[in-house]
Symmetry: C2
Subunit: 247 residues, 2 copies
Amino acid sequence: MLSKSEINLITSLKQKKYRFQHQLFVAEGKKTILELLNSKLQLHQLFTTTLEFDVSDVLQTTITAKELNKISFLKTPNTALAVFKTPKPQPIDFSKLIVALDNVRDPGNLGTIIRLCDWFGVTDLVCNTETVDCYNPKVIQATMGSITRVNVSYLDLKDVLSGRKEIEKFGAFMDGETIYNMSFPDSGILVLGNEANGISKEVEAQIKKRITIPRFGSLQATESLNVANAVAILLSEFKRRTNFQNL
Amino acid sequence: MLSKSEINLITSLKQKKYRFQHQLFVAEGKKTILELLNSKLQLHQLFTTTLEFDVSDVLQTTITAKELNKISFLKTPNTALAVFKTPKPQPIDFSKLIVALDNVRDPGNLGTIIRLCDWFGVTDLVCNTETVDCYNPKVIQATMGSITRVNVSYLDLKDVLSGRKEIEKFGAFMDGETIYNMSFPDSGILVLGNEANGISKEVEAQIKKRITIPRFGSLQATESLNVANAVAILLSEFKRRTNFQNL
């Protein structure tokens, strides 16, 4: 049975301000919930129609499909919805390669980028405060569990960059050096901007190295790469250079 | 003014069978429509609230925002919706690098892959008949106009591969040769499968070279890459090898 206050709490978590106020977020779908249960994240409450999770009774509530429908953020709800406590961001390890995002608004793109960081062993993702919240239910869904393995920090990106003089700062632009012709270090901060507007002026001012993924079509008409695809290509190139003999 | 039969025709084009029957498809949004108007595609009819397009009066109908709302496939409709004639697929140029998709179902992924082909100068995309239709409105939306520069053919993929003995066939698998350690030819067919199930058995039987994008995370827990991200990384690697001095 679902109480009225539980329904109100869960549905409020669709909004960033209530996620922040309660320090809670929602995950849906068996696979994602299992990944989150197997991580350091703390479960607040699990609502399930099937009772198939190995979770103490105190933290688990059996509900009907109709009740799940009421609290789910999905068009076709799964068999479970879990509320987790938002973890505290961990200190950033500046000795490694870091990805930074400036004004990325699309939840699907952020989720895919978190999944890419996880694939390529990037443990720190820094977002400016205008980038979509990583505990947005659509982001959680798109990360496919990778949110448990990437430390996402929301900070003033300009300050982070200007305060780290010793670190190489790369930014993805349309007019930078071709990535295939340049050398890459083992560490550094790789900044990507908003798909429509690119990197903001104040962040751009802190970037030393402008880099570009070259375009090959004869017409050169494709306007831009999707930001998650750009991250995929850049991380592949960084990791290839620092982990494989050149071919 | 919109006629009842126009409304019926346009709304029917959300379904593949009616797109096929009428050989028509829908594009929305000023930017996408302008790209399509500037291509070889033939306009069937344009419906607009603003009359800002340089199109003959016969092919253009002024409608109200309310009428646009009725025919639009978008949650927040733009100022125009255009119906174009489906172009005939062109012959495939097997002397170049070709991308092939096996059972890719997500329209957003297909749209992004078409955009990536365009960026990397891949002019032929071959899809098996179970792959989502490229004239699906969500695909058209996601291609951002790139659909006009990539020739998409729907064929029996197994037959295409088995009939081309002379061509190198690469398939993306979890257990193939690491892409950073192998050599790449100038041409060939690069096959990617469904995100959840991979490449189907019958298509797999035709593939000579199994390739893999290595995973770098210490936990090795990320289950798979999004198929569009995999295409991004593989096309970047193919094009780098054949167009740039190795670094």
